[in-house]
């Protein structure tokens, strides 16, 4: 059977079982087993165990429970609620102000954390209840977190950028520098969208009622709430910048900050630690079991000949440099639905990069496009890991369909951002050229 047909069957089966309501992790794992049996044979099942053991041994993933635990502590100790109260008092008069504040926090979180799953889950825990409580439309609230939560791989540090740098033979420092302005641009674009949308449709992000607007005294008192989260940000970023901890270990510094913050709030007690631990355990497990399934799926797809498929597809590239770039991005977009980022890189970059550089494009610029593409892939229906991570933290009143609908406008905004990056490569290349030439 040709790899094209196999691919259709493989993804079709996946879609069918997903729609029938089987959890994503078991769909990914189960479909892999079935296809491995028919295309390779039972001796290949060892892959399931080997990939699982490998996933248990990836040190970068240790940051997931630590960051989630940090978020849980902040939420339970009241620090998160106070932070939102502050934002409400200051930015409340602006329609959509809280959502813009949320994406700002997402951007800061992304600078602390190099993987995206942790950000979506953490921000979903911290930001969602605060926005819903203030009558923000659920689609606006969920959508902005899903969008901002994906920036972890674009704004440095980023595990994916390091991987790309190694595969592409590019400088890690240059890639990190290259991600800063595009990250900031996406933040501006998303904020503009929220601001404009809420200006015309105030029910999406209602402003603070006139009678609730505090005097300057209340405003300045509320600013205190920023101090503890700022302390945490400085501790985490400082520990990375000053060589105290690796980016992975910095997550542990974040937990320390959250504990200090909890002590200030006099909320840190055993029941709180117990509950935060339990919720962290369940959310981390949810993410990791999806990854167990995804690693199997990626490996099975490799074994079926995914690289041949990509090579075959490259023969259909419409002519010209831009036709190629766009065609490549469409392929990445589809692969980003179900494969883990590292898997996509391993399949695609060795094939795409020579083609792209032959046309004279800058590999650093292409790397950033690639990463923004993956980010978009992870938040677009029907599959997209971030959608599922989000589903794991939303209250029962928000369905998967709500999550799907919520990301549509944000996807369009990020696509606009992507197009801007293609038209104006300087947004990507300005900082790396400034720092490294």
């Amino acid at each position: 059977m040709s790899i094209e047909l196999l691919t259709l069957l493989f993804f079709g089966t996946l879609l069918l079982f997903l729609v029938l309501g089987l959890p994503l992790s078991f769909v990914l794992g189960g479909v892999s087993v079935v296809f491995l049996y028919f295309t390779w044979g039972p001796e290949s099942f060892y892959m399931v165990a080997a990939q699982t053991w490998d996933a248990m041994n990836k040190f970068i993933l240790v940051a997931i429970p630590l960051f989630i635990f940090m978020a849980m502590l902040l939420e339970r100790s009241g620090a998160a609620a106070d932070l939102y109260e502050m934002m409400y008092v200051w930015f409340g008069p602006l329609r959509g102000g809280l959502a813009i504040g949320t994406v700002a926090i997402c951007a800061i979180f992304s600078a602390m954390c190099g993987i995206s799953g942790a950000a979506v889950v953490s921000m979903g825990t911290i930001a969602l209840p605060s926005m819903l409580q203030r009558n923000y439309d659920k689609l606006m609230a969920v959508g902005c977190i899903n969008s901002g939560g994906g920036w972890g791989i674009l704004i440095p540090p980023s595990v994916i950028m390091i991987l790309y740098a190694l595969i592409a033979g590019e400088s890690v420092g240059k890639l990190f520098a290259a991600g800063i302005l595009p990250g900031f641009m996406l933040f501006v674009l998303v904020s503009l969208y929220i601001g404009i949308r809420c200006y015309f449709q105030p029910h999406m992000g209602p402003p603070i009622p006139k009678e609730e607007r505090g005097d300057w005294g209340r405003k300045f008192r509320s600013v205190r709430a920023v101090l503890l989260p700022m302390l945490i940000v400085f501790m985490v970023l400082g520990s990375i910048v000053f060589g105290i901890a690796t980016p992975t270990e910095a997550a542990g510094i974040g937990v320390l900050g959250a504990i200090i913050s909890g002590l200030f709030y006099r909320q840190l007690n055993l029941p709180l630690l117990k509950e935060a631990s339990l919720r962290t355990f369940r959310l981390t497990g949810m993410i990791m079991w999806i990854l167990f399934g995804a690693y199997c799926f990626t490996a099975a797809y490799h074994g079926m000949g995914a690289a041949h498929l990509i090579e075959d597809l490259m023969q259909y590239v419409p002519g010209g440099p831009w036709g190629t770039i766009i065609f490549i991005q469409i392929i990445i977009f589809f692969l980003a639905m179900v494969l883990d980022p590292a898997g996509i890189m391993m399949i695609c970059i060795p094939i795409f990069l020579p083609v792209v550089t032959a046309y004279g494009f800058d590999p650093i610029w292409f790397g950033i496009l690639f990463i923004v593409n993956m980010e978009i892939g992870y938040m677009t229906p029907p599959f997209g890991f971030n959608l599922f991570y989000m589903k794991g933290v939303v209250p029962p009143s928000i369905s998967m369909m709500d999550i799907y609908r919520s990301v549509i406008p944000f996807t369009i905004v990020e696509l606009v951002g992507l197009i801007l990056l293609m038209i104006f490569p300087q947004i990507v290349l300005f900082l790396p050229n400034l720092f490294f030439n």
């Binding site: 994503l24 087993v33 630590l66 510094i253 998967m400």
Partner: protein
Amino acid sequence: MRAINAILGFVDALNDHLGRILSYAVLLMFLLVLSEVIRRYIFNAPTVWGQELTQLTFGVYVILSGGHILRWGGHVNVDILYTKFSTRTKALVDIITSVLFFLFCGMLLIYGGSLALDSMSYWEHSISAWGPPLWPFKLMIPTAAVLLLLQGIAKLIRDIITLTTGVDASSQELVKKETA
């Protein structure tokens, strides 16, 4: 029926308690990471075991979570069509789709078991400078598969009861009742 309920209750309780105990491991990981940073940065004396012990703890923590999360309905799915189904249809669909679940868990049990046995055949130690035994950690893969399978079988039995009697016996209902 009472015997069945007792068994279902036992499986629920097993995964529930195990998960609650394991959940504290996040504190352990935090302390390990923090102490390693302090030892290296302040005392210039990193340990040979800090990072690896954190990693091993993480492995156990995440692999054994599968059954606990299934018991609490925490493995996320696409509920677009699913929520429109009647209770009985849901049960029927779940019974059908569970084939993939059992295939995945089954392979994890058999081949994870084989991976662990292999490791036990020479009492495998890590190749790191610290060199702790690895086999107990590899053994966690089949153990996790058993816990997950037990919970999956419990769910299957509940689905069959729901399908035949029309009364919702799913653990989601149970979760609702317990948290109410």
